[in-house]
Symmetry: C2
Subunit: 584 residues, 2 copies
């Protein structure tokens, strides 16, 4: 939905009225803080209304996404229906997903509310992709998605209705598909760089979505529900999710404690696979699968050991032809304390063994499996975006085919898909940047770039006049500044209340028009400085401003590192604000 960015209205109806207490600002979970500060309002578990301040933040973020994807990747914007027919999901065998919201219309047709749109976009593009000449192509949308999570939590971080950007690429061969995958990932990095948040790319498992190659974007955050592992070796610096990361112990075979076993069956069910690993560690199925060259029936992943043994014995009445494959995690050794082997009748001759592999979830401190040199560091994080090089996982069952240069008409399109959790990114940034005074938005997505505050109108005509003068500098049609401006958030409250509201809502700059300081105004810096503020010599950086204003930076306390304030003549205020915003 298009909106002109500079259009600044007060939105006075749905805004916080009174400052939040220190206690609330300090210890309220971020989801509740966002609600009290009128960004979002929870209506049901995992379901939210977006309020004006939240809408502005979302609009600014999606604007960055639109511009980057269209400019860098010539992406075509669409908006697919939210109602996706069951038949498409049957074709890709994804209908039996308990997290899909499902419904029937009055004619008993079945639909789900879209959780993701691989099926719909593949079906749609059959109308527009028929020849190799129609590719490569990138199509995307930004809109509501639905996932019936059993345990929604942390507000917009794990919601049942949320806003997502999902893009889909189409290429005629592997090379173009990989190029497109790389190009879109480059754009994703640029998008997050524009937000000035420290997002990390991690090699990831492609899970239910599918494909060979997958990259996740993580925001490091204490208390995040994901874990990423990064190698500290300079030539490597590999980062992977804990579902994907491969690590080896600093020294192999040193574990002498209890050993756990997890059973599996080969795809043809004639081989029992026994994974042995330290009891204190978790098996990593991606690694476990790799260790046997993928020859494992993955549908049994969640079955218990006993269920697998029973299945193995039932399906193989004659134990003479069965095999047993033992996979030994490299951490254990023969002196480790192994569990009993459950089968009675078997041939020792049919036992195989794989040694020296790593099949457990990586932990910090171990050796990086990528370079075999560095040590891994483990970091808690939130996943904010995910990209997949899909291959033909969707084009095959849904028959998205094209004619190639040699007139072969049944070539399958190679697809990729790319998602950014828009509301999740916003909730993560709130979580990451909040401090004892409230939220602290990067200026690129702050609901308002600046707020101009003063005492309530009508108390002092001189101050009223000065206030109007400063407001008009930013809001006037002459103003060339592309900043959203908030005036007093609560028109009838005191100056102190409005400063406090501006700070807690996370508006990067608060401009205070007081009656004593005039003709100077005070600019309070709330936003986080991404430049090196400690060594910042304003007079040297901007000699033309030397005469115009004094400046001071003071650190109040370790929990409140920056309480930066600039005092500047109102005549130069727009210039100084522009300079400050560049770094916020």
């Amino acid at each position: 939905m298009l909106m002109q960015r500079c259009f600044s209205r007060s939105f006075s109806t749905i805004l916080p009225r009174a400052p939040l207490s220190k206690q609330i600002l300090k210890s309220e979970p971020t989801a509740e803080l966002l609600e009290r500060l009128c960004f979002f309002k929870k209506t049901q578990s995992g379901i939210f209304h977006m309020l004006p301040a939240g809408m502005k933040t979302i609009d600014k973020f999606t604007s960055i996404i639109h511009n980057k994807l269209q400019k860098n990747n010539d992406a075509s914007l669409v908006s697919l229906s939210s109602l996706s027919p069951k038949s498409l999901w049957d074709a890709t065998d994804r209908w039996n997903n308990s997290e899909l919201f499902k419904l029937k219309d009055s004619k008993k047709n079945e639909y789900c509310l879209v959780a993701t749109c691989e099926e719909d976009i593949t079906e749609l593009m059959k109308n527009y992709i028929t020849s190799y000449k129609d590719m490569p192509a990138l199509v995307y949308q930004v809109g509501k998605k639905y996932r019936d999570e059993l345990r929604p939590r942390s507000g917009l971080l794990r919601a049942r209705e949320f806003i997502m950007m999902d893009a889909y690429s189409f290429a005629s061969d592997e090379k173009d598909a990989t190029k497109m995958f790389e190009d879109v990932n480059k754009t994703f990095l640029e998008i997050f760089q524009e937000l000035k948040i420290p997002v990390v790319r991690a090699s990831a498992d492609s899970g239910d979505i599918g494909g060979d190659q997958s990259i996740e974007y993580h925001l490091p955050l204490v208390g995040g529900e994901s874990t990423i592992l990064s190698c500290n070796h300079n030539g490597c610096n590999h980062v992977a999710t804990d579902e994907k990361a491969l690590s080896y112990p600093v020294e192999e075979g040193q574990y002498t404690g209890d050993v756990s076993v997890k059973y599996g069956l080969s795809e043809d069910h004639t081989t029992l696979i026994c994974y042995y690993f330290p009891k204190e560690r978790q098996i990593n199925w991606n690694l476990a699968k790799l260790s046997v060259d993928d020859d494992i029936d993955c549908s049994l992943r969640d079955s218990s050991n006993q269920e697998i043994i029973d299945l193995f014995q039932n399906e193989n009445e004659d134990m003479m032809f069965t095999k047993v494959l033992r996979v030994m995690d490299s951490r254990i050794n023969s002196r480790s304390n192994f569990p009993d082997f459950p089968l009675k009748n078997y041939l020792k001759n049919n036992f195989g063994q794989i040694d020296g592999v790593s099949i457990v979830t990586a932990i910090g401190g171990e050796i990086c499996g990528q370079c075999n040199e560095g040590n891994l560091e483990s970091t808690k994080s939130i996943e904010v975006a995910h990209t997949f090089n899909l291959g033909t996982k969707y084009s095959n069952p849904l028959a998205l085919k094209f004619m190639d240069q040699d007139n072969n008409s049944d070539r399958l399109v190679k697809m990729g898909c790319y998602g950014i959790g828009v509301t999740r990114v916003i909730a993560s940034i709130a979580e990451l940047t909040r401090d004892a005074h409230g939220l602290r938005w990067p200026v690129s997505i702050a609901p308002w770039g600046i707020s101009i505050v003063s005492m309530p109108q009508g108390k002092n005509s001189e101050t009223d006049k000065n206030y109007s003068k400063v407001v008009s500098l930013f809001k006037g049609t002459d103003s060339k500044l592309n900043i959203d401006v908030m005036t007093n958030i609560n028109k009838t409250a005191s100056l102190g209340t409005n400063i406090s509201l501006s700070h807690s809502m996370g508006i990067p700059l608060t401009i205070i028009v007081g009656n004593k300081s005039w003709p100077n105004v005070e600019i309070e810096v709330r936003g986080e400085r991404w430049g090196n503020v400690d060594n910042c010599k304003w007079e040297e950086m901007y000699p033309q401003l030397k005469e115009a204003y004094q400046w001071e930076v003071k650190k109040a306390s370790p929990t409140d590192p920056y309480q930066e304030k600039h005092i500047v003549s109102h005549e130069h205020v727009t210039h100084v604000v522009n300079l400050l915003l560049q770094d916020l």
Copy 2:
């Protein structure tokens, strides 16, 4: 979702490739034409994907809505959840609506997909409206709505998933509520004026939504499914929907044919109401209800005459205390041919009669019931927007209360609601303006304001150079023009194909860079001129251009009134384009 307007990309993947045949352009229904021209794609009955050209059109229209509502009415933008809980709809007694899409989550909670948001917004605003000081306030959103129509038809004109702008007003008293209602209606008119389409306001029935005052916005259109009646008397000019319009026959009591009767019961069910009217006319329940001062049980509206007679006799065993009220439409007289009266035992004394009222749906040619002077004219139309002055219909059951100036804390908020069918407006405009060459968008919502076409690149280096020069005039960063620019729609097709595609997609101006005409270019005017082009003296209007270019206007045929073409030096092309666009 925010997007910068001038950002012009080719969106080349999802665009028409080949010109449509004359036959298709002439006789294909508009819904199919929009699909062939890649604006929307139907996926299921009444369900559509929005494609790039459609998205651009929607974005431009919603941009106008955002700007007008925020600037004129200080409206706050929100986005409510699409999942609305059953409990809210139970409270207002609207859950039993067969057109609601309903679903359950994994915990068996029931929701509907929002068809309209009176319930949700009323519940939400309880958090932000507590005092008379918090009002008046206007809150709005633009987003997808859902209605499980049994018979979706005419593409986006009657869809099951569609885009709507819905606004809600909150006021502390009747006076403010009416002022707000009028203010928003004023803005609606401005919005449609910006589209340069001839929208008509009609007094309307408030139906299921509720409230006392209601205005519909209609686009007159042959083949529209609505009917509006307008008075031709200059002092009156009253317009009403056929559900609301009151008309009288030119002369009363002239109808001598067969008379129809429709029965009703008074609210206490002790009076049988018999409506008599000409058999050839339709009863209008709004007028029928008014004629008995609203003392009628409306829930019986759809019952047959026999059902009502049975009910009347069952509930009133002693016919001595019942009454019969005959309501005579003013068109009939005593010589008309009345049906038999079905009751045997009744007291003649208990018969009452109302004469001289009009209880049938108005038709063109009759006398306007508003002024009693003019004649009504009947026009087919499409409803594109609707506004309601709701009173306390939703604030009462959902307890949206406030404290007034005298500290009374249980005052009910007076609400209004306002809807514009965004996708419906776009489909209507397509229907209204299309001609033998395809679509003709007003420039305010055209997906692209201009298209610049030439022969395919690489055939003539001189032409390529000239083409790039013209494109850069419009796309360059120096360009101050706020126009979305399309280049060759099909990059590999001929000049003729691209002119035809540009025309059929309804792009207002096509700029042709040919190799013969250079240094002049040709500007073909496709858009409808809303000024008086026949008398337009370009040389007089724009003397500064007199030297710069020649012009010609030619009428090709009655079905193709304007085939206007301007030949102009490329140096002046941006200037001329700007002048032309003002009138399109």
